[in-house]
């Protein structure tokens, strides 16, 4: 029976992750997704039956995984009429509720100027590649900084070792350089005005993130990197206009 319910959970995950492929209204997709999430949770519970404790844990694990996936990859979390999602495109209002493109608002996936019909349209002027808003980007960096600093802490106290802490240290350093260079190259304010998260990340990393970030930021102000292929040109029309004027 365990394997049968595991198979049922696999089907529920697959079905839930596939609903966006069908030509359904956003609300119908959302309902179908959460029905699949609930059924995955029930399957997880029955996998462990009669162990109630583990059953509830696995049910929560499966439902939680689908909730995380919903936040990160879909616009299916909608509470009180507001869509909660990680990406800029998924955070837009449902297409059934959004004003027409000529009104200057985004369509379902329309976060590019071209989609709105208005070349000046920019629904998230501080976003990184129109994928993450500045606030969400910097909260993500807080999470990475916590993980990197945690790894370093456990190395120092002798409870971890090997390559992964080194990789995490290199990764947070590369992110600091990348975000600093991206912000400086396109003349954004420091940390795109996410000063609280910037302070938290700097505190967690004992100031090292701030040093690397600011070095990259001010280097980029002197020697900006503005590749023609950069997403900044595509998603923030003001950059195109500025370059054309230059």
């Amino acid at each position: 029976m365990k394997d049968i319910f595991f198979g049922a959970a696999v089907v529920c995950f697959f079905a839930g992750f596939s609903v966006s492929s069908f030509r359904l209204s956003r609300n119908a997709q959302r309902r179908a997704y959460w029905v699949c999430a609930c059924l995955a949770g029930v399957s997880g519970f029955l996998m462990c039956y009669p162990n109630w404790e583990k059953g509830l844990g696995v049910a929560g694990l499966f439902f939680g995984a689908m909730a995380i996936a919903a936040y990160v990859t879909t616009p299916y979390i909608k509470i009180g009429g507001k869509v909660y999602a990680l990406t800029v495109s998924d955070s837009q209002p449902d297409p059934e509720e959004a004003p027409t493109p000529s009104g200057g608002h985004a369509s379902a996936k329309g976060v590019l100027a071209a989609d709105s019909g208005d070349p000046e349209f920019d629904p998230a002027p501080d976003s990184y590649s129109a994928i993450l808003s500045a606030a969400k980007m910097w909260w993500m960096l807080v999470i990475v900084a916590v993980i990197a600093a945690g790894n370093m802490y456990f190395v120092v106290v002798g409870r971890a070792g090997g390559l992964i802490p080194v990789i995490m240290a290199a990764f947070i350093t590369l992110l600091a350089i990348g975000v600093g260079y991206a912000d400086g190259s396109w003349n954004y304010a420091i940390a795109r005005r996410q000063h609280f998260q910037f302070g938290v990340v700097s505190l967690i990393t004992a100031g090292s993130f701030a040093v690397v970030y600011l070095a990259a930021y001010f280097t980029a102000r002197l020697r900006p990197l503005r590749r023609a292929q950069s997403m900044e040109y595509r998603v923030h029309p003001r950059h195109s206009k500025r370059s054309a004027a230059d």
Binding site: F6, A9, V10, F13, F17, G44, M47, C48, K54, G57, V58, L61, F62, A65, M66, I68, A69, V72, T73, T74, T87, K109, G110, A113, A114, G117, P119, Y128, S129, L132, M137, M140, L141, I143, V144, I147, A148, G150, N151, F154, A160, I164, P165, I167, M168, F171, G178, V179, Y181, L225, A228, Q229, S230, M231, E232, Y233, R234, S240, K241, A244
Partner: protein, 147 residues
């Protein structure tokens, strides 16, 4: 192209240069408007560029599918292990660490690459960032649990 790159990722990479130029994506309902919306303002140096907004969206779509596959498979195998005797608490905590590290590492890395370099390579960089973040999240939870 590194040997470790999956076929899907490699296909995504190749499709950037294979697909038609800006505003000419076959089947794209917005392709005409895309073309008109940008040609007056895009820098001259970008006019020979071979990928379009549709390509960028396709890359984001690949990123979504990778995230779903990663989180879904990880949750299912973790649940299966728990059902077969693994302790619930540590297994769930390690799953949480991997999930948080994975999306917190992957999406910022991909977004930054797109901002600095462009769509080419975004998927690979996002994937590498996700793997690094997930490995780091897993390691820190394990160390915290004393494993």
């Amino acid at each position: 192209m590194p040997a470790a790159v999956s076929p899907a990722a490699e296909l995504a990479q190749r499709s950037i240069s294979r697909w038609p130029a800006r505003g000419a994506s076959a089947g794209s309902p917005t392709s005409g408007r895309q073309s008109n919306a940008h040609t007056h303002s895009i820098p001259a140096s970008t006019k020979g560029f071979t990928s379009s907004e549709a390509d960028a969206k396709a890359l984001e779509g690949f990123g979504r599918q990778l995230t779903k596959a990663g989180i879904g498979l990880d949750a299912l195998f973790t649940g299966y292990d728990v059902a077969n005797g693994a302790p619930l608490g540590p297994a769930a905590a390690e799953f949480g660490g991997r999930a948080a590290g994975g999306f917190a590492g992957g999406w910022p890395a991909g977004s930054l690459w797109g901002s600095l370099v462009g769509p080419e390579g975004t998927l690979i960089v996002g994937l590498l960032g996700g793997i690094a973040g997930a490995a780091g999240g897993d390691e820190v939870v394990k160390a915290g649990l004393g494993e």
